[in-house]
Amino acid sequence: MFKLTSNPIMGSSNIRDILTSFSPSLDYFAICAGDARIKIWDTLKGQVQTEFADIASTETTSFYSNKPERGHLSVDYTCMKWLALDKKKKRKLGSSLLVLGTGSGDVLALDVAAGQLKWRISDCHPGGVSAVSFATHGSCIYSAGADGMICEIDSLAGNLLGKFRGSTNGISCMAVSPDGKMLATAAGQLKTFNCSDHKKIQKFSGHPGAVRFMMFTEDGKYILSSAVGERCIALWRTDGGKRQSASCVLAMEHPAVFIDGRCIDSGEVDDAGLYVLAISETGVCYFWYGKNIDELRNTKPTKISISSEGIISQNQKGAFPAIFAAKLQGISKPASAHAFVVHGLLIKPSFQKILVHSGTDITLHSSQDGVLLPMSQSVIKSKKGLDLQNRVTALDRAYAEDAVLPLPKILDVHEKKNRHQTLITDPGEVMADSLDSKIQAKFVESKDDTVEVEADSAMVCMEDRLRSLGILSGKDDPRLNLACKSTLFNDIDLEANMPEKKMRAAVLSMSPSNACELLEVLVNMWQSRSDRGKHNLHWIYSILVNHSHHVLSQKSLNPMLNSLYKITKSREVAFQPLLQLSGRLQLIMAQIDKATDDKIQIPSHDDQIDESEDEDEDVEELLYGEVDNESQISSDEDD
């Protein structure tokens, strides 16, 4: 699309000779580097939109035939600014002009969209134009030159409207306030003028050298200026007395070539403050923020620079990345601002919107895409390309192996439920069992619920699955209580067979209230037929013995103790017959053994027969589910 040309600033190590300008709506960017070729970049695409090589000379041949023909190299642009003509149609390029001043004293305006010279004033300032400026949406342009005069030009037609003397010496810089009422010139010292009657308002002294850049803040209250060779930016107050010195000086490491500032005074208190952005000769951007002048004076600048990695070798003359232009776009929150930055290499700048926060330095990485590089660098470049290629990860069928699998769940579906009702929701109903594997999972089927269990893949072992399977129950499950409580007593293994002494020590080490809680849990466990009472009873006994005082004092425990007593009594009644039964059974079993010569061991027995039966059933069912394909189950019960 565009030709890559040799770097026009070959050998120079700073950006002070480069003229840059943003279009009013920041979507285009004009850059001109010494050889009078103006390139218009599309900031969105990052591409050259168009290039004006020798527009001044070609246009003069057709429209101003008396002028001698000259090549573009003979034109020397000294200043460039992009002016919006119409406030409302700001985004339409047709209503904006690129105003240029030349070293030979001409002022010309380009219609960028049409690619035509709009107008030209020849020999406006003998000795060269030093600055052009205009109010935000004003209809007239001011130009200043080495002859010390200031010209007022009609921006539409290019007619010279007026001329007045701004200084006896040559003017080095000039700026117009955004409202168009005030004009500031600098020729060693700063002066402000009233635009309507051209009378001097103020005089500021402090710049010994020629001022290179000067601007008004948006509200017109401050002027920011920087001079050749001075490593600072001066801030001047326009509403003060007749003669003033700088109200604030911001120091930099290199002289500034470009400044942008914004002052938000009233309105939202949060945003209030002064924001100053400057670019030094070496292409480093500085940012200051202060709530007021005093704070601004004391702040350290925030630096935005190009990373040194991008600079491949210093001996490549000219091709050094820098920040060329920047613009404050808006204030997002106090002390930070959006800045639109143009950086990289001059032949292929990058455009980036960044958020600058005061106090946080930013390093930008310049990309070398689209830049023709010398041979030595192309090797590195190609390596980079390889890296890029390598970074692509390709996944095929094996990719999902370490993926998290969903926790399987059983949901109850009420078939009769209406369509719009929530099918199932309460996570409290579906609980994961986190107890040890000794407690076997149990499936309780409620009457109107259809519950299915689908065992999963064969890879998962049964124990894990059982552990993770939820239990559906309408009632509160005491084991869940224990599950939560067990964290409290995690150093005690309730299931283990402990010697009495140890048990006593453990119980004594508990606080009385904890012991009471444990007591409750244990009683609950024992009452529900789900648990073996073998060790429980020992624990209960131990607690009652060792914490008797506390238990007595707790009225709330009375009903529980009552019921415990009743149960104990009732079991006690059954104890004798049970022993008899046990003895009889033992006898019978022994006889059977003898008779069949079988080696079946008598199952160790405790008093909870029902429980073991339950267990057996469960295991059987699960085994069935395991062996057969579970999809069969689902298909059976699907419909």
């Binding site: 339409k92 996944l395 094996a398 999902a400 993926a403 699998l405 969903p406 009702q421 929530t422 394909n629």
Partner: protein
């Protein structure tokens, strides 16, 4: 209000006399571009419908800039486009599809007489019941068989020339005029009709006409600038050249004294039947339809271009060829620059992907390109439903849309400019080839730094189909995306591929609002949560290996209501799984909603735990979206039982629903309102009503507050089928310039129609101001008619019934007449 995305290639463009400007028909306006910079300078605004013809008045002086435009709104306008200023309007009240003005092309010296009438020949579509009192045409039952006709129009007196209808045809055709202005012609199926323009025009002049026949349907024709040669292209790619056409018919009036006239009677090679031509030669190079034919200004060369995107230059005498290949898309128009004084003749060429190339001749090098938004690309039959290839970057105001050449174009809606293109599939695009790969989905993360695309290689006879999911990472600020991870067959299970015939196509991709996590759901019945690895490796800058991997999988099985894991080892027949048709993350990212056909399953994306199931809708859900930070979820389903339903997350139940055919849903990031694009029903009565009330608009944008079934605002739109909606967050400083008064809005609603034309407006703006603006415009217009129209709708639309829901929360909308409810509220 911002508009954009206009097509540059709807009609042939025209050069200004100094060749420095190019006039391009862009929707209702004519945009004027600079040929040297490629930037838009001005636009001619005034037509109320699409502009179909722009003709620059030739003048000896380069300074004169006058042009005629004709539009579908039935008017012809005369402009001074240097200012620009409207000078004259001729209203003929019939939609004009094409217009030629022969007298402009004649010798300028002859037009010195001031009283000379200027006649134009227009190709119009007759929409009147009784067309012409003179013809005494009986009102015919609709649709009319021959609604297209060629008429003569007196531009000086601003009226149609009475009774002159040169031809009638089914659809209006484009009129082509010879460069000398002596002949013009149209193509009518297998025939060319050519008229000779009378030397002295008057209204009642009888026009002489000849007909040339061919065996194929013709697509384009062109006249030789000096000789009586006409060339025509047909659908098979042949180019036919008739020499000395109309010798017999036109000779007398031409005053030609030609001795050969009689002798050539016997041998007329290639000429069919009794066609009035001397000879007919056929050239065949183009493999498919010829779209472009143009003779060079000296008549020595013929330029042709077609569907395959190659420009061919034929030497007329010898038939030798030269090519300009790799243009990349079908050529549509070809225009010469009029300025002979330019050392290099630049000419201009439009191609179908909405680009205009300026060529430098004779080297045929592309100097500049003017490009717009990519036009919707065609998708093979049966895959339209799969393709939802558009995504919005809400914060940056960008839209990502997939193009015909396997690219994703990033287009800035605020600036109306393309930003970049990302090649998604590594394959060459050849226009005219059969499409074998379709980019089905595009998704962008909320900050715009990540993109995900899904593509589908279409199986040929059931073999070779491949689904591919790709994740892209944004390299730098300019939306230069680089491929990060590619996953082949993301949802297909290897062990099962023989057992199962269902499509493993990806139905939706959604990004987590804050983290580098995405979810993809598949019609095969599972969804997968993907996670980007460099989230963990940010501390170690050396490890730049940023790949995505599968974090979790899940599926939902209905009936058995058991959720099972589905990893690489899964032998369960997937046919029992419900197709996952849509997926969305909530605004804070804590809940993942996946639609399992008619049910909505809610998951904890980190733990991969099913939290809840809510449902169900009447038809499979097509899209899901959470309404901002509120607790509501919007689901839409299409099909015979379309539905828009809003679900409350706190109650886990339906809050309210409408039976509307929803094309698109947009939710703002932080507001509690959402907008839907609803299609108007297509019952005959409604169509009739559309003509009066909706003025041809087929869709309505409704803005709802999630808690309230009564819409806050509504706008009716055209070309809603295939349209898109999105809320854009706007940086106030960047938008300031577009808003003339008042404070800039926080959010804009973007509506993009099926042709990728779009409009941005403030949905919460001042109603009166906004609506009046909209009403003037064509693309989007408000409803300002009275109630009378709606009463008749209700009788016709019994299918519109608010679905009752069982939730304890009672909807405040009346149950019977949703449209009435909707409309009564905003007609104020």
């Amino acid at each position: 209000m911002i508009r954009g995305g206009r097509s540059h290639v709807s009609s042939p463009p025209a050069f200004s006399n100094d060749a420095k400007r190019l006039l391009v028909c862009t929707g209702n306006t004519v945009s004027i571009f600079s040929t040297s910079t490629g930037l838009q300078i001005k636009s001619l605004e005034g037509h109320a419908a699409e502009v179909t013809t722009v003709t620059v008045e030739p003048a000896a002086s380069k300074v004169l800039c006058y042009c005629w435009t004709a539009s579908l709104d039935g008017s012809i306008k005369y402009w001074d486009f240097s200012v620009p200023e409207l000078l004259k309007t001729v209203d003929i009240k019939l939609p004009i599809f094409s217009m030629v003005i022969p007298s402009l092309l004649g010798q300028p010296t002859e037009r010195n007489e001031k009283q000379h009438n200027i006649f134009a020949y227009v190709s119009v579509e007759d929409t009147r019941e009784t067309t012409n009192p003179r013809k005494k045409k009986q009102p015919k039952p609709k649709p009319k068989p021959l609604s297209g006709r060629i008429c003569k129009c007196n531009l000086t007196e601003s009226r149609l020339a009475g009774g002159v209808t040169l031809a009638e045809m089914k659809v209006p055709q484009v009129i082509t005029i010879s460069p000398s202005g002596k002949y013009f012609g149209i193509r009518k199926h297998h025939k060319l009709l050519i008229w000779k323009v009378p030397d002295v025009e008057s209204e009642r002049m009888v026009m002489r006409k000849i007909t040339l026949h061919h065996t194929k349907k013709m697509t384009v024709l062109a006249f030789h600038p000096t000789q009586r040669i006409v060339a025509a292209g047909d659908v098979t790619g042949r180019i036919l050249i008739w020499r000395r056409f109309g010798d017999k018919t036109f000779a007398v009036s031409d005053g030609l004294v030609d001795g050969n006239l009689m002798s050539s009677e016997e041998e007329r090679p290639g000429v069919r039947d009794n066609d009035d031509a001397d000879s007919c030669t056929t050239w065949h190079w183009h493999p498919s339809q010829v779209n472009v034919l143009n003779f060079s200004s000296d008549g020595a060369y013929l330029y042709s271009g077609g569907q395959e995107g190659v420009l061919v230059v034929w030497q007329l005498d010898t038939g030798k060829k030269k090519f300009l290949p790799r243009i990349g898309s079908p050529l549509l128009y070809f225009t010469f620059s009029p300025d002979p004084s330019l050392s290099s003749v630049s000419l201009q060429m439009s191609s179908a992907d909405n680009q205009i190339h300026l060529l430098k001749m004779p080297s045929m090098e592309i100097l500049k390109s003017i490009s717009g938004i990519k036009l919707p690309c065609s998708v093979p039959e049966g895959y339209e439903a799969l393709c939802r290839g558009i995504a919005f970057d809400q914060s940056a105001g960008l839209v990502a849309l997939h193009t015909g050449n396997y690219c994703i174009q990033f287009y800035s809606l605020l600036d109306d400019r393309g930003i970049s293109e990302v090649q998604v599939c590594e394959r060459n695009h050849q226009p005219g080839d059969d499409v074998t790969v379709v980019v089905t989905l595009v998704a962008l993360s909320q900050d715009g730094s990540m993109m995900s695309t899904a593509e589908l290689k279409i199986a040929e006879e059931g073999i070779g189909g491949l689904v591919c999911l790709k994740f892209w990472a944004s390299g730098s600020q300019n939306k230069e995306f680089s491929l990060s991870t590619v996953i082949y067959e993301p949802h297909r299970n290897s062990q099962l591929w023989l057992l199962w015939y269902r499509d493993a196509g990806i139905s939706a991709i959604a990004f987590h609002p804050t983290r580098r996590v995405a979810v993809s759901s598949s019609y095969a019945g599972d969804f997968k949560v993907w996670i980007c690895h460099d989230e963990f490796q940010q501390k170690d800058p050396m490890l730049q290996n940023s790949g995505w991997s599968c974090h979790a999988v899940g599926s939902y099985k209905y009936g058995s209501s058991f959720i099972f894991s589905c990893g690489a080892v899964n032998y369960i027949s997937p046919c029992r799984k419900k197709a996952m048709t849509a997926a969305a993350f909530s605004a804070d990212g804590s809940v993942l909603a996946v639609a399992a056909e008619t049910l909505i399953t809610l998951w904890d994306p980190d733990e991969n735990v099913l939290v809840a199931v809510i449902g169900e809708t009447l038809a499979p859900i097509m899209s899901l979206s959470f309404v901002g930070k509120s607790e509501y979820l919007v689901a839409t389903s299409r099909g015979s039982k379309p539905q828009l339903s809003v679900w409350s997350m706190s109650k886990l139940s339906a809050s309210w629903s409408y039976m509307l055919q929803i094309e698109a849903v947009a939710t703002a990031v932080d507001a509690s309102s959402f907008a839907v694009l609803a299609l108007l029903p297509e019952s005959p009565k409604c169509k009739e009503l559309n003509g009066t009330v909706f003025q041809g608009r087929d869709g309505v944008i409704l803005l709802f507050n999630a808690t309230d079934p009564v819409p806050v605002a509504s706008w009716s739109v055209r070309k809603a089928k295939g349209g898109f909606l999105a809320f854009l967050q706007v940086n106030p400083s960047s938008i300031q310039e577009y808003i003339s008064d008042g404070k800039p809005p926080q959010t804009l609603l973007a509506y993009m129609n099926a042709d990728h034309e779009y409009v941005l407006f403030d949905p919460y703006g001042e109603e009166t101001h906004e609506l009046s603006v909209i009403h003037r415009e064509d693309l989007l217009a408000s409803e300002e008619s009275g109630h009378y129209g709606y009463a008749s709708i209700y009788g016709e639309l019994p299918e519109f019934q608010l679905k009752k829901n069982q939730a304890t929360w009672t909807p405040s909308a009346p149950s019977e007449k949703p449209w009435e409810t909707i409309f009564n509220w905003f007609i104020t």
